[in-house]
Subunit: 273 residues, 3 copies
């Protein structure tokens, strides 16, 4: 299944509009190219609405929010929904400041996202407070591990139900949920957290995967998560004794460039709950 999904990304080469932070934007662009998609960045309010209309999907990342680009997120998000384009939200730092938390809440209210991807802390923030998600049990543990996986899976499904989005909670084990099914994914490597922006890159390619597979949103999202984790594993095997997080960063993107659909199918490690 993932083989076909990844082939669709490579064949259709969706153009993805990114309104994202300036810290990891270059890596997001190269990772989109690596997976077979094409990136475009535009964050001026006037520009963003027009650019998003010529794209196949939109990726909104609030990593370095500012007052100039927030209106672009709303305008481009609404326009993309109108056009039937998939829209991904990466609520970086939701919970760490009012501006981030409030912006994420307001985005959830005004834009029907296709996928929402964050770590457990960010997703719990969204689940606990926004009117779109209020009532979701945010009492899930702060770290998803084997012994709380069932509880976390219920939380992810419920978050997906309330937001009507595919929910992605990344950590040592990654969860990808719609309201009925949950992929528990065990790809990835702990060293990925020593590279800035691997989460941002995952959100960007997720937009490409769902844009190329509109009829299988849950599976396409799970395929993106497995692909990113698998690239982290492949890149890790390439490290020599003098390599650190900078070379690792490059090797992860390289691994995506070299990854075949068949290798993704074979290397994906997940179970359904």
């Amino acid at each position: 299944m993932f083989e076909q999904i990844f082939e669709n990304v490579r064949r259709k080469s969706p153009l993805i509009h990114n309104i994202t932070n300036y810290v990891t934007v270059n890596d997001c662009a190269n990772m989109l190219l690596a997976c077979g998609s094409s990136p475009i960045m535009a964050d001026d309010p006037e520009d963003a609405v027009e650019i998003t209309a010529v794209c196949d999907g939109l990726n909104i990342n609030i990593g370095t929010l500012n007052r100039q680009t927030i209106p672009s997120m709303f305008a481009a998000g609404r326009r993309s929904v109108e056009l039937g384009h998939p829209v991904v939200l990466d609520p970086v730092g939701a919970g760490a400041s009012r501006l981030r938390t409030d912006t994420a809440f307001r985005l959830l209210q005004e834009v029907k996202f296709t996928v929402i991807r964050g770590n457990i802390s960010e997703i719990k923030t969204l689940a606990s407070g926004s009117s779109a998600t209020r009532g979701v049990d945010a009492g899930v543990a702060d770290k998803i591990e084997e012994d709380n996986l069932d509880h976390a899976a219920v939380f992810a499904r419920e978050f997906a139900r309330r937001t009507r989005a595919v929910a992605v909670i990344t950590g040592a084990i990654d969860l990808v949920a719609d309201e009925e099914r949950v992929f528990c994914i065990r790809n990835g490597h702990p060293m990925m957290s020593a590279v800035t922006g691997t989460g941002c890159q995952l959100s960007a390619i997720t937009a490409a995967f769902v844009a190329a597979n509109p009829d299988r949103l849950l599976e396409a999202t799970a395929a993106a998560v497995c692909a990113m984790g698998l690239c982290g594993e492949i890149a890790c095997r390439r490290l020599d004794h003098a390599d650190g997080n900078a070379s690792y960063r490059n090797y992860i993107i390289d691994a995506m460039y070299c990854l075949t659909p068949a290798a993704l199918e074979e290397g994906a490690r997940y179970e359904m709950r």
Copy 2:
């Protein structure tokens, strides 16, 4: 000829002011350093005019336009022209949105550019609509290939005549034209399009090449285009089976750092039309 031109860049080490997008700005800075030049970035309107005055050339790239930096482009552009500094325009995405297209048109009207570099689609947009360029035959094909090269060369010369700039149209074959002569350049490698910002990097080093060679603008621009393409070729030969576009990105910049003027002279592949 290119040997001497590249030696001048290395010897004079021109300081280049870049008002450019935040996606590829780091690579532009490192590529400028790799070719022997020095980069400085300043895009606040107040700052940009003063900074451009202490530089040797200006590179304006509209890749992530926003309302704050557009006035800086005009102000710094006019100031550079007053001071006799070369100014390069990279009209990223002209034709894709009104803000980009209109800004590019207005820049063409108000700033006398030394070099304008874009892909065929961007240059056709500029040729078809701005008052500075109206009347240019924009009916040229969307892809420059062997069988329409003569027609494209005429188009490039005419665009150069109307804009009074050296025109650079990059693609599988690159054209570098003034109103009388056209360099048809066959350096480069298709994988360069899998790295974000190789066009931006070329525009940046073009500013350095013309700043260091003010009496040979056409040849200096052609030398920059050949150098960039040659680095793409050299970097490609270095790729091993696990390398992808991230390592390729680094190898291209590395290749510029290691490129000698003599190797540029020898590796440049072009003909005049």
Copy 3:
């Protein structure tokens, strides 16, 4: 001593808030991760004050100043001082434009910095003009070398006394001074100047080193400077004939990731004046 200081960085993993330029921000983030710290970027005025409060230190870099982020620097700087957090200033380009110079002067007046790091030209600008530093002898030479080292050390001590900050002047020889003592540091490699942002990276990790060692500010700063220079040396030994400044950039960050506290202790080359 440096061994313990570096161990504290790795053990405490301070969270560093960076208000910095968009050119080198990604490398600053990865370098902070490489040394064992964690980065966060926030430059909207509303966001910056809240984010800085949840961090352990603040790094202010004026490399791409603009009117939107200047108020964030003041507000976050004051908030950090109130909270007793260390604050580092990197006055990039002070002296090159009024906006940069004036902003640096005003920051010096309103924020009590823990460390100020610049090249000799930037520090001389600060020393000559701000009311906080007026009267400091800025007649020191433009390049710190063996034969003017004593004079430069006196200048650095005096600058530290007036600003009540640890003063760092980087160049072929680096000086790290408080009002009584000066570390003269001979780590580093000339090729580091061919990589954009090695100075920015040093300022970022300095914030992490002082945040993790609040009782030894001078020594912690000297340790950061030695660590950065040592990584430049280690990375240089790794270069092969085809590598240039792009691979070198990665190798420097890799070297920090792999550097052990014991290796820093052993590799640090300095004397006190």
